[in-house]
């Protein structure tokens, strides 16, 4: 219930929200947890395995129990920490992992069966009968496991990603972080100060301590006001730095709009990549639990959470509170509660020499050995001086000491160091380059020490940045000692929980040791301790200590599992922001794109490009009708296709020809100016990298074309060869792929069409500069269709106009546009290869181009291509295939000798490309067949199990159409 006069909530701003269908009221500034606790709600969820009733354990992002689903219309977010989620008007939350209801959960029966559900039990059973695993056991286990539910609907909400750069990143805005930020900001450094919470100040907001004689929170407010007014400081609240990466890069999640009912212009979350010259980790410390019998009942929480709910939210989570601790810090909780008028029934202090100063019963040298209350705590049993005392209580605050939050310092494999005095792991200095640790994260706990540590560390960071610090005066603050008696577990017969979220008890850890899963990593993996949503933040230390005890080793010897990013869980949507739908990859459009779309062409992906599949005409129902028509059109009149996606590389310099001789298998230095040559390029390992034509535009000026797919690859390859092997050559090149729009004009009437536009007087494989109206263009006499063919290029800004103009001229001649489907048929008929054939495993030998590898000169890949495994009759060589009847054949089918069993051992090859050829009236295929060139005229059996095709084909030359190239040259 609420405590009058306490808390930082805005009591003038009531907020209505719903939990499990019941409407409640809280105030602006409440989290879901604080608001529900204020309404007397104790039961928040069910545990993972045993479905035990669970309440709130913490007041922060480390919460293992109070995980809920937040409902937004038909969308929902699972596993939301009630301790982090701020309430807003109309917030609707639901408990999860229970059926049919939170109060009555059928699977609570698991709790009764717990002796049979010990750590790793599933490795030892469910093996018989075998078929039952997928049919019965696994489905049942899967349904019982898991926590919250995804909606199954696309997440259509907005998320963002952003970069930020700063001199100093300060992580955590408690006393140490504020002091560090102030120190650095006053020195003029660019500072980013982040804090996980909605309000900055850290524990200063949750404690009643004083700084300079006034409430600590007021000091925080004043410092934040100063920082907020400085142009070199950026304050980022609700921002969790989740990971430390190389080069001073940090990943951080900002919860931009998760606390708002409406956010018309804001994303839900933003994932930041912060590049920082230096960083200060001031993440504080987290209070840990003690394992004792039935320590998981609703109403049991950390003492600091209790204090936070009281001081920050004005909520007393119980009416008759007890405290169980092994150190001094929890005493403040008791004092604050009493000062606020809440009854403290007892302080149970494990230390025999603990002081007895409070105005409530204090049991020194005592432990809690049991608890009662199913859905809410009713009483605890205390062992004191050999006798058991039962104390009625509805809320128990526990403190087992503090764990510095050192996670980020371990993200680059740094192992933390055990400090026996603090009974905690401390960061290894320098574990993350440029990251300095301050305050409680570094193991200093008093406010005064934290302030000094933060300011001091900032001075070090400033020095590393080459900046001089301006001395700042630190305020007077509390300097309490931290006295602790390590206490990890109170041994007993009943189960004592370590990992609340995954239901791992001390018994499980001991069983793991008993079965010789004795290394800390084995224990973690065997028991699943630390693998729940809290990532072991509440349980790692306790589990480790119990394992050390069970195996007779020290904690330092036992070691710790590795902390890995993220520090707290980050949504896939935030880290994947921008990837949704077409945002995943760039889209590249040709200049003819809209003209093609206007003509109804379906645009298909070709790498990052979009190209027209075909240009349907009235009355055509299937793509084949359009394709067949377009093929016939090119073969009989004229067709126009945009081929601008082909890579174009402009190469110049006195050594340009020599360079081409090095990268191509064939010779280019002999190519006359004004002529074009087909070239074959190998990778360093001797396989075909790419093919294409290169034109010699001038003595020292070439234009290379590449395939669409390999344009980037070839550019990278050329850059490497030039810079690594020919650095002193006079050759320079640049990609001009997007500079030029280029169109193929192909067919018997190609020349007739072009003559209406430009001067056309080119031999086959000739090229020339041409005037296209007022525009300087280029004309190439090359063909990928086997017909008389030209490619005409103009600067890209004229591409669309030229395309439309060419189509208009073509149509007057009975021609028109053709798309990728027709282009593919035309090239297969002609036996031209694409990356379906040069798929990375083929050599010049395989595709019948070994004669293109010049014997007179060296080239990249030539030596490697001569390796014994890359030549010889056992290799599959490219052939043509014609089915014996009119049936369809398919790419991806495999080839066998007729009469041999269809099995891998008899595999003779495979089909790479097929088409229906309207020109030849039947199906054609290109295939790779073992020793294929020697087998023209033979029959092979083509089998495609997946498409249910099985027929005989005749092996033939891969050039089906116009073998002599008469049309090409004509």
């Amino acid at each position: 219930m609420r405590v009058e006069g306490k808390g930082r909530i805005d009591r003038s701003a009531p907020v209505r929200f719903r939990f499990d269908g019941v409407e409640y009221q809280g105030f602006k500034g409440d989290t879901l947890a604080s608001a529900l606790l204020a309404n007397g709600v104790k039961l928040f969820g069910r545990s993972f395995k045993y479905h035990r009733p669970r309440g709130v354990l913490t007041a922060g992002s480390e919460e293992p129990n109070a995980l809920v689903e937040v409902i937004e219309g038909r969308q929902q977010t699972p596993n939301v920490r009630a301790t982090v989620q701020e309430i807003y008007e109309g917030l609707e939350a639901k408990s999860q992992n229970r059926w049919p209801s939170l109060g009555f959960d059928i699977l609570a029966v698991n709790d009764l069966a717990s002796p049979f559900l010990s750590a790793g039990f599933y490795y030892k059973t469910f093996m018989w009968p075998r078929a039952f695993w997928e049919r019965l056991y696994e489905p049942v286990i899967r349904r019982a496991a898991g926590l919250g539910r995804l909606s199954g609907r696309h997440d259509e909400a907005d998320y963002e990603k952003a970069y930020a750069f700063c001199d100093l990143l300060v992580i955590g805005a408690g006393p140490a972080g504020l002091a560090a930020a102030l120190q650095a900001a006053r020195a003029g450094a660019d500072v980013i100060l982040t804090d996980e919470s909605a309000e900055m100040g850290g524990r200063l907001l949750a404690d009643t301590a004083q700084i300079d004689g006034r409430p600590a929170a007021d000091w925080a407010t004043a410092v934040l006001a100063e920082l907020g007014g400085l142009p070199n400081v950026r304050l980022m609240a609700r921002t969790t730095v989740a990971g430390a990466y190389d080069g001073g890069t940090y990943g951080a999640l900002e919860r931009v709009g998760l606390h708002m009912a409406e956010r018309p212009d804001l994303p839900r979350e933003c994932f930041w990549r912060i590049v920082a010259g230096q960083a200060v980790l001031a993440a504080g410390a987290q209070e840990r639990m003690i394992a004792f019998a039935d320590n998981d009942r609703p109403g049991i929480m950390t003492a600091s959470a209790l204090r936070t709910y009281l001081n920050r939210y004005g909520v007393a989570p119980g009416q008759r509170v007890t405290i169980f601790a092994n150190n001094d810090s929890a005493r403040q909780t008791a004092r604050d509660l009493m000062a606020a008028g809440v009854e403290v029934a007892a302080i149970i202090d494990a230390r025999a020499d603990a002081s007895v100063a409070e105005e409530c019963p204090v049991y020194a040298g005592a432990t809690v050995v049991g608890t009662k209350g199913r859905k809410a705590l009713r009483s605890i049993t205390v062992l004191h001086r050999g006798g058991e005392i039962e104390i009625e209580t509805d809320c128990l605050g526990v403190s087992g000491g503090w764990n510095p939050l050192i996670h980020l310092t371990c993200h680059m494999n740094g192992r933390p160091l055990w400090d026996a005095g603090l009974a905690a792991f401390l960061p290894k200095p320098g574990a993350v380059p440029g990251l300095h640790v301050a305050g409680a994260a570094a193991g200093v706990f008093s406010t005064a020490q934290c302030l000094a540590s933060g300011a001091g560390v900032a001075v070090t960071a400033l020095a590393a940045l080459g900046r001089k610090a301006v001395p700042i005066e630190l305020p007077a603050a509390e300097e309490a000692d931290y006295d602790l008696l390590p206490l990890w577990e109170v041994k007993g017969k009943r189960r004592a929980w370590l990992d609340f979220a995954n239901d791992v008890t001390t018994k499980d850890v001991r069983l793991s040791a008993q079965e010789n899963f004795a290394s800390v990593e084995h224990m973690k993996r065997y028991t699943t301790q630390g693998m729940a949503p809290d990532q072991g933040k509440n349980s790692n230390m306790g589990a480790l200590a119990v394992l050390a005890d069970a195996t007779g080793r020290s904690i330092a010897e036992t070691g710790v599992t590795t902390f890995r990013p993220p520090f707290s869980p980050v949504s896939i949507a935030a880290m994947g922001a921008g990837g949704r739908a077409e945002g995943f990859a760039p889209q590249r459009f040709m200049t003819s794109h809209s003209a093609s779309v206007e003509r109804g062409a379906p645009m298909i992906e070709a790498g990052l490009w979009y190209r027209p599949s075909y240009f349907p005409r009235l009355g055509e129902v299937t793509w084949r009708e359009a394709c067949d028509r377009e093929v016939a059109m090119v073969r009989s009149t004229v067709g126009v296709a945009d081929v601008s996606t082909l890579g174009k590389i402009d190469i110049q310099g006195r050594d340009a020809a020599r360079f081409l001789d090095l990268v191509y298998t064939n010779t280019f230095s002999t190519l006359p100016v004004g002529r074009v040559r087909y070239g074959l390029m190998l990778r360093a390992d001797g396989h075909v990298l790419d093919d294409g034509t290169t034109a010699r535009l001038g003595e020292n000026h070439f234009l290379m074309t590449t395939t669409t797919a390999a344009a980037g690859l070839v550019m990278r390859h050329l850059d490497f060869v030039a810079q690594a092997y020919c650095a002193d050559w006079d050759v320079r090149f640049i990609s001009v792929t997007e500079t030029w729009a280029q169109f193929a004009v192909a067919g018997p009437k190609a020349k007739a069409l072009l003559e209406t536009l430009v001067a056309v007087d080119l031999p086959f494989m000739g090229c020339a500069a041409v005037q296209v109206g007022q525009v300087a263009g280029r004309l190439f006499r090359i063909s990928f269709s086997g017909e008389q063919g030209y490619e005409i290029a103009v600067p890209a800004r004229y591409g669309e106009a030229l395309f439309r103009d060419l189509l208009a001229r073509a149509e007057t001649l009975g021609g028109g546009a053709y798309g990728m489907e027709a282009l593919n048929v035309l090239r297969i008929e002609k036996g031209f290869i694409t990356h379906a054939e040069i798929h990375g495993r083929t050599t010049a030998f395989d595709i019948g181009m070994e004669k293109m590898v010049s014997a007179k000169k060296d080239c990249i890949g030539k030596g490697a291509a001569a390796r014994p495994g890359l030549v010889g009759p056992e290799r599959e060589q490219m052939v043509g295939l014609r089915p014996v009847n009119e049936a369809a054949i398919s790419a991806g089918a495999h080839l066998f000798n007729p009469g041999e069993e269809v099995a891998r051992v008899n595999d003779q090859g495979y089909v790479t490309s097929v088409c229906y050829s309207p020109t030849l009236g039947g199906y054609l295929g290109l295939a790779f067949l073992r020793n294929g060139r020697a087998r023209h005229g033979e029959m092979v059996r083509l089998v495609d199990h997946l498409r249910k095709i099985d027929l005989l084909c005749e092996v033939c030359d891969p050039v089906f159409h116009d073998k002599e190239g008469v049309k090409l040259r004509g």
Binding site: A684, A724, A727
Partner: protein, 96 residues
């Protein structure tokens, strides 16, 4: 991870393409299988300092020889492949 390109300054790893170790700088002679094997395949693959080839693909298109620790990812030197820095470090780069 950030790499300081000698031409462009410190840039995010996203701008760079990684090829492999500096072994690729040594072009094999003819059909010498051992040299081809060393060029293409065999690697010292140290857990420690390595020199490998990166391409500033989204930047200036320079190929870089980066001296880097494969365990800590610390980068201690970045040189241009095309400049003497790299040629001097080439094991036996042959003139073409």
């Amino acid at each position: 991870m950030r790499i300081t390109c000698p031409l462009c300054g410190p840039r995010d790893r996203r701008e760079f393409y990684y090829y492999g170790s500096e072994d690729y700088l040594t072009l094999p002679e003819g059909e010498d299988l051992d040299a081809i094997d060393a060029h293409l395949h065999l690697r010292d693959n140290p857990a420690g300092i390595t020199r490998d080839l990166w391409y500033h693909e989204m930047g200036c298109a320079a190929w870089l020889l980066v001296t880097r620790d494969t365990v800590t990812h610390e980068i201690s030197d970045v040189a241009l492949v095309a400049e003497g820095g790299s040629a001097a470090k080439m094991k036996s780069g042959r003139a073409l």
